[in-house]
Point group: C2
Chain length 492, copies 2
């Protein structure tokens, strides 16, 4: 079979796969990868992705392309992408800008299904660069080849160890497979938010940086990830968007699939907007308009990377409160007040428990405040049974959708922790529909055990309350789109 | 000398010391302490303060008082406070509510200068409890004896190991001496914020919980701490204040002494206000009014415990920016944008560096954005000298008061860290008036070294920018009160 025949066959196959699922597979699940501009130096832009992907134990074929070497990092190298004997699903281009267009032509000739372009020096530099970028994009689109980038930090599928990036982040931390996907217009923001997520114990599915977005943009990735079976939560960063209709469709699709989109959108201030223009040349657009879009489509807008990671951590737990009614149980009246303030600011309500429950709490601890927050007082330290009974009483109250429990640093001291652990686990087990959040200090062992049992743990009361509010709003968003789908079905 | 004579002499001495300094010494620097209601059980309310204070190696006299035991935790015990042979500066009352009034009378008879009352069951319970509390307060005030509490978690002077509290926090972490004081209406909030501060490596001077505030309130403690030589930063929590004029005076005094007050004030929402009433019976007051008072007196209002601790950490560094002009240097254009947005929201400005500096940056890294944020691009990873020269150029620009540097996780990888460490230290050393903040991941060793050299380190860009904004506003507050004092001096 000649190169041309392969090209036609591959293009036809690519065109046949018209669903988003098949499209995304070329990028996220390639069976074979060519690295054009491959380097023997594992610290160079063309060397890192080979090194990382080998460390990831990627089982597919890896073809380094370099006309000057017969072997790269222990793998046979090829003089050009067209010289590779087998099919190539994905080609990574790590060449200087001036060599990139020809490489694109060769990839199209070879019949690759997707191109990832690290090369910079295009639309982010000047009009001439933009013109070259547009030409490459047009040729790819016409050939039915996906183009990620240029000027991007690549793509990773953590489940299969495909680590096509030159980010240094993998020198400091290595991701575990999980169900959180990261899509970022800025590779470094995506890499950093992923690193902070990994440090919080969050496992990742896909990671993709869109860079200059000549073809593939954040919206399209979100659309793919909304239908990606390996992904249940989407962390996203964007500076601007050229196609708001596509973005809205992607958000709606994610909501219908009950997949939280945790969006960090920059360019809020005048300085931020200028910086966006200097960085990716995007138009940061109207901030209030984006806010309205996010609200309308159930997208969670994070105000910081940390908040985005908090929410990814909270979503990974899988329990989304049925409604906004929160109970706060606190060993400290003061922390109860702080939590109440933060919860109200996050859109939550703090109804009182039933009269009978109040009466029983007051009977157990006469100096307690039995309403909401429940102040169990320091008396429980000498008789943890009091707390355990109050927890059981509050947990069974149908008036609450979520419970935040503050026990200061008692979770760091084994003898105290053992005094309330079983009651906590029982409450968690008996009320699977409720969200339970522990606020306070916990030892590493206690933390691991309680998180595995389905508790969220936050040190700061305000962050705990904010996460409960966020999960509640996300669930309301899902319900809204679920309900819409339902009523539409009824209409037909 | 009879008991009555001792009492009169001591009271006279107390009355003679009319300055706040001498008053505070009775509470913060007692030479001798009686523990009334002392327990042999180191886990009980009357046992913990003895155990903790012995672990703190307090060098003063400690007199356990318990009519049923001759020795408590290895220390000779006394049948009553009046039976103690030497002078008693401070008496701690850890008795049930009904026994407290008589103990107060005996303390006054003995001539103690300050009473700390753990006992609860007074104003926080009902009107009858408030009446008893008021009577005790009146007797103390008439006798010139300070009364802390009742229903409070005590007082600590970390420098002398005086740990008069029954908080369990000391089971999980032990404070190092330092210059941050904590004053809290809620003992548990104060204990928790102190614990989070300790975990951030912050050393403490004094710690005091005011509880029911029969006599001593948060305002009076801030006034004392404003003049306390061991303290340079004050973390405070309050739910309400009965004497706003005193509070204002205390804040102004702190500002004149260039001591940041980092205030967490709860009761912001309707639910929070109800919870405040249930907790301490305080009136949370008008939130906007408090906001205005804080702004007018240069007090930093923290929105969470975490933010309060962030600011304590930032203040401990000792560098307060001269003005709001921030430079951001980032390896990531995207993080640069996020930082710019957060900085603007925190009241900072991001002017451009001089034309010559811009030209030189562009010469060093052609693809960089040389304005502000400076995007140094990933090119620096392969040639850290480029970053080092840009850092030196930006640091010497007189247009900047602060610099935030984002290098992602490079600080976690030794070979990268060694590539920029010396340039960072040189910049820090050459420009002592400027605030340098590192944003990103750093190894424990790198963090220790850079913090010791005077850098602040934050993982999250928004928290970094917020801290710079906070330090800037605090310094503006100091200047405002310094200027006022100066012009007043000129008038006289």
């Amino acid at each position: 079979m000649s190169v041309t025949q392969v090209s036609i066959a591959a293009t036809a196959a690519g065109a046949a796969g018209t669903t988003a699922r098949t499209e995304a597979d070329a990028l996220f699940r390639p069976r074979s990868i060519a690295i054009i501009g491959a380097s023997s130096d594992a610290t160079r832009i063309g060397g890192r992705p080979i090194d990382y992907t080998r460390r990831g134990r990627f089982a597919g074929a890896l073809y380094p392309v370099n006309p000057n070497q017969s072997e790269i990092q222990g793998i046979p190298a090829w003089a050009s992408v067209t010289a590779i004997p087998g099919e190539v699903d994905l080609a990574l281009i790590a060449l200087p800008a001036k060599a990139a267009p020809q490489a694109v032509d060769e990839c199209i000739a070879k019949g690759v299904k997707a191109i990832v372009m690290f090369s910079s020096g295009f639309a982010e530099i000047d009009a001439a660069g933009r013109a070259v970028q547009d030409q490459m994009r047009d040729r790819c689109v016409n050939a039915g080849v996906l183009l990620l980038g240029p000027n991007c930090l690549g793509v990773m599928n953590i489940h299969v160890g495909m680590m096509l990036t030159f980010s240094t982040i993998l020198e400091s931390i290595w991701p575990n497979p999980g169900r959180v996907a990261v899509v970022s217009q800025s590779g470094a923001v995506g890499a950093y938010s992923a690193a902070l997520a990994m440090e919080r114990g969050i496992g990742l599915s896909q990671w993709v940086a869109t860079g200059n977005e000549a073809d593939i943009d954040v919206a399209r990735c979100i659309q793919w990830l909304a239908e990606d079976k390996a992904t249940s939560t989407i962390m996203a960063y964007m500076e601007g968007c050229r196609d708001l209709a596509r973005l809205r469709t992607a958000f709606e699709s994610a909501a219908r699939h009950r997949k939280p989109v945790l969006m960090l959108k920059s360019g809020i201030t005048d300085t931020g907007r200028s910086a966006v223009a200097a960085h990716t040349g995007s138009d940061a657009g109207d901030n209030a308009g984006y806010d309205a879009l996010f609200r309308a489509t159930g997208v969670y807008r994070a105000r910081s990377i940390e908040e985005q990671v908090d929410m990814a951590y909270a979503c990974a737990n899988g329990v989304f409160p049925r409604g906004p009614r929160l109970s706060v149980i606190s060993i400290s009246g003061g922390v109860g007040v702080l939590t109440a303030d933060a919860a109200r600011a996050a859109g939550l309500e703090l109804p009182s428990p039933g009269a009978e429950t109040q009466r029983e709490i007051k009977q157990l601890i006469p100096f307690s405040s039995p309403v909401n927050p429940v102040d169990v007082t320091a008396q429980i330290i000498n008789d943890m049974g009091l707390f355990n009974r109050i927890l059981a009483l509050v947990a069974q109250e149908s008036v609450f959708d979520s419970v935040i429990i503050f026990l200061q640093q008692l979770g760091k001291v084994e003898k105290h922790f053992h005094g309330f652990r079983d009651a906590m686990l029982a409450a968690r087990c008996n009320h699977p529909e409720k969200l339970f959040v522990l606020c306070g200090g916990y030892s590493a062992e206690a933390r691991t055990e309680m998180e595995a049992a389905g508790f969220l743990i936050f040190e700061d009361p305000a962050r705990a309350a904010n996460a409960v509010g966020g999960l509640t709003r996300l669930n309301q968003g899902f319900a809204r789109f679920g309900a819409e789908t339902k009523s539409k079905q009824k209409e037909t």
